[in-house]
């Protein structure tokens, strides 16, 4: 008690922060866990008895299909982000310092621009009578407009477009930390370009890959508005299911269970990320 009085400032700050986090993070999340094991009630949203029905419902073929499809789209999004982002970060880290700063700036400009508006902008390009179809027909590559909007592909394009910077930034940071000396050492010991890439570059940039995957994969399952705008009624994300359960169908236990599914996915990814960092000796001090 004596020490508390000695440091009123410290005590006040800690009470404020802990209070905020307990009240607006911990308790609400416990409520969600609680909600997931209760029974749906049309009047009060939730009622007793406690049961695991909502979790069982996750494996209902109807929803399982949606989840698997959402996972597939998120997986494809992550894959394309990695495919585009990895060489991108690599090329970026090889440029001069000044140019790097400028290009990073240009990369985060879209991130600071309203994501709804950007998703909507894609619609202008992808629509049946949109710009891409018009351009392709004008040059005579196609006779009939392609159906691009309201497809799975459109949702994936939208997600990649919104989430690409989140893949590139952690990758860029590991490429920045990758010491040129290590690549030189590898060549010196007789490894060619490919061997060096596989044995040195890839393992050393793995934490960045995992961080990027984490930052892309999870939002790619949650960003319901992208599926709403670009995917039409059939291509749903886990986020759409949760939103529908909470705001339209009013099945809270099921929505809560679906959200816990995402939390579990996050926990798995966080764990994998930590593991990969520990393998490198937690930012090896050299």
């Amino acid at each position: 008690m004596h020490r508390v009085l000695q440091q009123p400032f410290k005590t006040a700050v800690l009470v404020l922060v802990w209070g905020w986090l307990l009240l607006l993070v911990l308790i609400p999340n416990l409520l969600v866990v609680g909600a997931s094991v209760m029974t749906r009630d049309p009047g009060t949203f939730l009622s007793l008895p406690l049961n695991l029905d909502s979790y069982r419902q996750l494996f209902d073929p109807l929803y399982l299909d949606v989840f698997l499809n959402s996972l597939y789209m998120a997986g494809m999004t992550t894959f394309f982000c990695l495919l585009i982002g990895y060489p991108f970060a690599w090329a970026l880290s090889g440029l001069g310092k000044q140019r790097q700063t400028l290009l990073i700036f240009l990369l985060i400009v879209p991130f600071w621009t309203n994501s709804l508006v950007r998703t909507y902008a894609l619609k202008l390009l992808l629509a049946t009578n949109g710009l891409i179809n018009n351009a392709l027909m004008a040059v005579g590559l196609i006779d009939e407009p392609l159906k691009m909007l309201y497809t799975e592909g459109a949702v994936i394009i939208g997600l990649v477009y919104l989430l690409l910077p989140f893949m590139i930034l952690p990758l860029y940071s590991v490429f920045e930390d990758l010491r040129q000396e290590l690549l030189m050492a590898s060549h010196d010991l007789g490894a060619g370009k490919l061997s060096t890439f596989l044995h040195v570059t890839v393992p050393l940039t793995l934490p960045g890959v995992l961080a990027g995957v984490m930052l892309v994969l999870l939002p790619a399952m949650g960003l319901f508005f992208v599926a709403d705008i670009l995917g039409g009624a059939r291509n749903l994300l886990v986020g759409n299911v949760i939103k529908n359960q909470f705001l339209d169908a009013r099945d809270w236990p099921f929505g809560a269970a679906a959200s816990i599914l995402l939390t579990v996915a996050m926990a798995v990814l966080l764990f994998a990320h930590r593991l990969s960092q520990r393998r490198l000796g937690e930012e090896a001090q050299t």
Partner: protein
């Protein structure tokens, strides 16, 4: 080959990244009704945007919300960062961990948990619920920004101040706050932008009494094309760009 290949690749990605934005800006000046074809220059969509009363109201609401959320989260976030940086206390690792988890967890998870809380305690969904939610998801970003600044500064400065007779509080006010000022501004701008951009959390915790811009846009773009959105998007783009340049300017200036 090894010289131009990376550059060509980078350029290509940037073109793809900016193409939709460019199209949006160009079409905001389009005089055509159909939305997909170019019909000459016009400012009609800007005009109809500003004549849309509900839209302008939503804009003001959003601005006010973002200002409040950024300010509150900057104050709490900065204090938290200072505590994490300076003090030893039980549960420090847990506090860090929790902030990290908040930052990483999907927005929608945060959204429904807050919705559950607000309904449980009977809070009317509106400005207050939006503010609490926005501050919560901005908080970790502010903490990270300020922590980064603090970790790069001389540990002996606070000790020197204490040695010269400043109390803990006075030292914080006269030494630490000035040092982290640029980070505070950057964190504030980040919070402001995150708040202004948020769709997911706001969808859950806003009520009919307080309509904000992203939700207004959302309801407009869900079906079909609304050329006003092009105009609005262009304005938002200019706004964000200004803010971003401001924050970059502040950060680079402070490094000297």
């Amino acid at each position: 080959m090894s010289r131009w290949l990376p550059k060509t690749y980078l350029t290509l990605v940037y073109v793809l990244l900016y193409l939709p934005i460019l199209v949006l800006v160009v079409f905001s000046f389009n005089n055509s009704r159909t939305g997909y074809r170019w019909g000459g220059l016009s400012l009609q969509w800007y005009e109809s945007l500003f004549n849309n009363h509900a839209m302008v109201q939503a804009m003001w609401n959003s601005l006010w919300l973002a200002l409040s959320a950024a300010t509150v989260s900057t104050i709490i976030g900065a204090l938290t960062a200072l505590a994490l940086h300076r003090y030893r206390f039980r549960g420090k690792r847990m506090l860090r961990g929790m902030l990290f988890v908040v930052m990483m967890s999907p927005e929608i998870v945060l959204a429904i948990s807050l919705l559950a809380l607000f309904l449980l305690v009977g809070l009317q969904l509106g400005f207050v619920s939006l503010l609490l939610a926005h501050v919560t998801f901005c908080l970790p970003f502010v903490v990270i920004t300020v922590m980064a600044r603090l970790s790069g500064f001389d540990e002996s400065l606070p000790e020197a101040a204490r040695d010269l007779g400043a109390s803990d509080f006075t030292m914080t006010r006269t030494v630490l706050i000035p040092v982290i000022m640029p980070a505070l501004l950057a964190g504030w701008l980040l919070g402001f932008t995150l708040s202004l951009d948020d769709v997911v959390v706001s969808t859950f915790v806003s009520g009919p009494s307080y309509e904000i811009l992203p939700l207004r846009i959302y309801s407009m773009v869900r079906v079909g094309l609304k050329p006003e959105v092009n105009a609005l998007g262009t304005l938002l783009l200019i706004f964000s760009l200004t803010m971003l340049m401001l924050s970059q300017w502040i950060l680079t200036r402070s490094k000297r």
